[in-house]
Subunit: 330 residues, 4 copies
């Protein structure tokens, strides 16, 4: 103890903290409760029982590295009781060549949610060519619980090889909902979306909406980094368009409170969630049942090793426990 | 696709975007519409049919480089269906020496708007000397559709060789309107102007007002850069005076909505329009028919080559199309 | 005087001050009063007479350096008429080995307040093991006037060797209040606390609450600096949680004004008090009798020499006198 | 003209101006009026006729350099039709040794205001010792129109050799007003003063109040620069206390409008007036007749040569003329 105290004298001078850094989203109440003594309470989400309110928003697909990453992520889901959305499964529609990279049901186990993922352009094409059975087969061979449809008009537009969306995405999604009997989740890819899109989506019988809000991985920005060509750079203003997770949550709460015809059941809040404290804040504020999703944060550790990912997730769970005990959302 | 996906894993870490960069002037609605499949819709402006809502605010005159720039700009107008305002045509009043640099009607063609341009001091002198016919002749030999009068008291004041404005500009403009039968556009030169000037101009039977607002090329600043002399630097506060395009637009909308005697037909929003997204935002907000103007942005490319200018304008048109489809002004 | 004036001409150019630096918490009224001609007026606080409204918030304990620091601080209390809270006295519960480092009653003298200090975990353990007499004995052998209980859930949580708080701190404090007859002060350790904690504490028959608000020494940050380990860094968001002294003071004033059942008598405003001017501002605004506390500021000088500490405190007293004369809190 | 135009093309790229630099205190109205064609209109202030609304707030005294500076400043007053306040004339109370440095009546001429200057401590001492005749004699030998009393409690407090103010300054000033029959101006020395001081001063039969507001030369800061000693640095918070000229002007306007017993006739707005545009803005907003004062700006040029000072003042007059013509205070 003597040494620790001596440390403190020196460290005290280096630990003066600027008031401007204060995170003022919470009341800190250290006098009311004891330290958390139990694990996080299990809860039902996406129809299964989760133990940790984090959603794995995978972004990978079709490479050997993707296989390693997906396996690490699925293993973490099993250990921590989380659900997982795969990256784009487009390559699996017509071939099983990359199936092994996505095939993680045996790792995550039967009791946790696993969702396949497809872009709106592919969905549109399958509808147009009356080949939705391909999509159903893909979900089947992945033993997925359902399917995520990602909508990415800016990203496709900015890709030299990008596809074109020829119908209203909401109409394609409606048609999908009429054609399949597994649950559907809808997301954008990093810019979020506005109140009109939110309202129309919330009225559909979706399992969940994922925000993928502005502030996290920005796919329009990715296209700009991939294309140093001057013309693509001129589209940079498009990469600054979007809505933050908090803004989207406020709209969602308003829509849910003022509208009787909400059929969407749950939301996954993602996009710029840097740590447990952001996730805790946003899920606490949600009027619909909510968990929070992370993509690049998890990818970063999953790419290194399972142990790194495991340690990261352990801190997040501990952080959530202490947040729930001492922090009250303002 | 494998490579593209691998790229994505690395790029994802570099494309995390700061929430503070968010451009919050729009709602982004990616779920409602398909990708734009048609060209921009033609519309009537300045009495002719345009295909692109961009106004070429030329600033050059009287040099060989000016000839090349003007020709490139006129060629782009023809290709993209835009209108063009020439730089100051003062030198053409008394001599045809520089006429070839401004003579672009044969390039732009008969169906697009082309405007000559003269400063308020020259207009004043021609009125005083009862030589307005010179001005009419100049418009005639340029085969211009009309004339822009630019008003630049700060710039003239700061020039060692500057002219002096001896009458109220609004009075000179009124006299011009009584004396000629071609359309007149009025603009400042980079600082914009306040609500009283706007109100008085909007009541005149002008074809259009161009804002030339604070935020773009600042002619008072130009004079300071040209005169390193310490005394001129002391006038720097004058270069910070002015009004932004958005502020001017708000005033214009208020005046138009509360006033029955508005005779000015259209507005050209310019000054600090960095890209299609600013232009889209401001023209969408305007209560009067509006296009947006750019000067140095276009000059930069026109000076290099026609191909550079063409590529730039192509991106702007594409940007406008995607903006119209997915962005709703708040 | 000639030289001084010459100095002024040069210094005038270096002393132009930015308006953005203006401290706008006060009205400066130089015309109403004369320079302060008397010493600060003595007043009763913690049941004894103080001459200076500064509380020495010691943070040290258990090292030879701690002995020197505590002695310097106690000597300063005697000279300037201030009260002192010792650092954690945990080591004295079971052994007198370090008693000499804390034993400062003979230095501070009988007429000024001296408080022992213990963490909530130790209090909880003593209650659980029915050994509160140890705590009473510790206060006795220090000849302290009372005891400070510090509550530090974040700090303990972040320490690898940290203790766990198993009961509501407020319940342990209530039990302590029922069990001892000396006065009790309660504080956090650098992040402050929210309105619910404040309200519950203000209803207890405490001698005082010390804020230890966000902005000063941050013990969660200390733990992060002590543990370069990546996992601990992931808890950084917790170090940004808290409340400033001004925010806590506003809540306290509101609670005191709207509540009849306030039994806590006084407050010690600490955490981010950089100088006399902050202390003057906050104590002037308080509805409860208040002094202000400093920790690392005093430690910095006390560690060097008594003369350094003495000079520092002299300036603070002079600053308080001139503040009282010329500054009116807005 | 060809060359000038060519210049413009290059300069246009360097003169793009950031919208954040916009000075939004004015409406810029370039269409209503012609360029200014007359000189500034003479007006009565301090009982004499001025041609330029700038007050020379001298700060020098008692050195050979001071003599040169004062002579240059007085010469400029004569040329531009301005008034001048001398720096502290304390040294002249008991000796004529430095009189030649202050003796500028023959330079400024009989028709422009010239004011002597004395600190509140000296006034207090003269009152206490019943030697006010010394002060009257000093004003007489300088052939000054009146006397400025400067009040500087912070500055004196921070000087090792500083005097102590033993009475309320307002009482000493009242006594002075009863004892002399020349006009009195009162000022602080660089921090300005609050509404209570303003209100009490405005009720006195003063010729004028000079603001000497926060934002210009800060005498508390000067003392800190002169005393590198650590203790003096600890008083730095006092150098950040004060009020801006705009804030003081707003209070003055409010007091003048709501109070029938205002006897002070005029105000001199000084402290942080960087150029004609600030001076124009503030004097335009004043409800009492007002001119604006500058100290270090003028000193800087006066120290170099009369030509530098002359050129500077010429730009300020031109700037005022163009401001009056084109800028309307919001």
């Amino acid at each position: 103890m003597t040494d620790r105290k001596k440390d403190h004298i020196d460290l005290a001078f280096r630990s003066q903290i600027e008031q401007t850094l204060l995170d003022d989203r919470f009341y800190y109440e250290p006098f009311i409760d004891s330290h958390p003594q139990d694990e996080l309470k299990p809860f039902t989400f996406l129809g299964k029982e989760l133990r940790t309110p984090i959603w794995v928003s995978s972004m990978t697909g079709g490479t050997q590295l993707a296989g390693k990453i997906n396996k690490n992520l699925a293993k973490a889901c099993a250990e921590f009781g989380m659900g997982m959305g795969l990256g784009s499964c487009r390559s699996l529609l017509d071939s099983d060549e990359h199936l092994k990279d996505f095939d993680v049901r045996h790792i995550i186990g039967a009791d946790l949610p696993l969702y396949a993922n497809l872009g709106i352009c592919q969905l549109e094409e399958l509808i147009a060519s009356k080949e939705l059975q391909k999509l159903i087969d893909m979900v089947g061979k992945l033993e997925a619980d359902g399917l995520i449809i990602h909508v990415n008009p800016m990203q496709e537009w900015l890709q030299p090889e990008g596809d074109r969306i020829l119908r209203s995405p909401i109409e394609s999604i409606k048609e999908l909902l009429r054609s399949v009997d597994f649950p559907i989740i809808v997301k954008e890819v990093g810019q979020g979306f506005g109140p009109e899109s939110l309202k129309q989506l919330l009225r559909l019988p979706l399992q969940a909406i994922e925000f993928a809000a502005f502030g996290g991985t920005n796919f329009a920005k990715i296209e700009m980094l991939r294309n140093p060509d001057a013309q693509v750079q001129l589209f940079e203003p498009l990469a600054k368009i979007g809505h933050s997770a908090e803004q989207m949550l406020n709209w969602t709460n308003e829509i849910v409170e003022s509208n009787k015809h909400i059929k969407c059941k749950e939301i996954i809040i993602s996009g710029g969630i840097h740590s447990f404290i952001d996730g805790y804040y946003l899920t606490e504020k949600s009027k619909l049942p909510a968990i929070y999703g992370q993509a690049s944060q998890l990818l970063k550790y999953a790419r290194e090793s399972y142990e790194d990912l495991q340690k990261y997730l352990h801190t997040q769970v501990e952080g959530l426990k202490i947040s729930k005990t001492y922090l009250k959302v303002k």
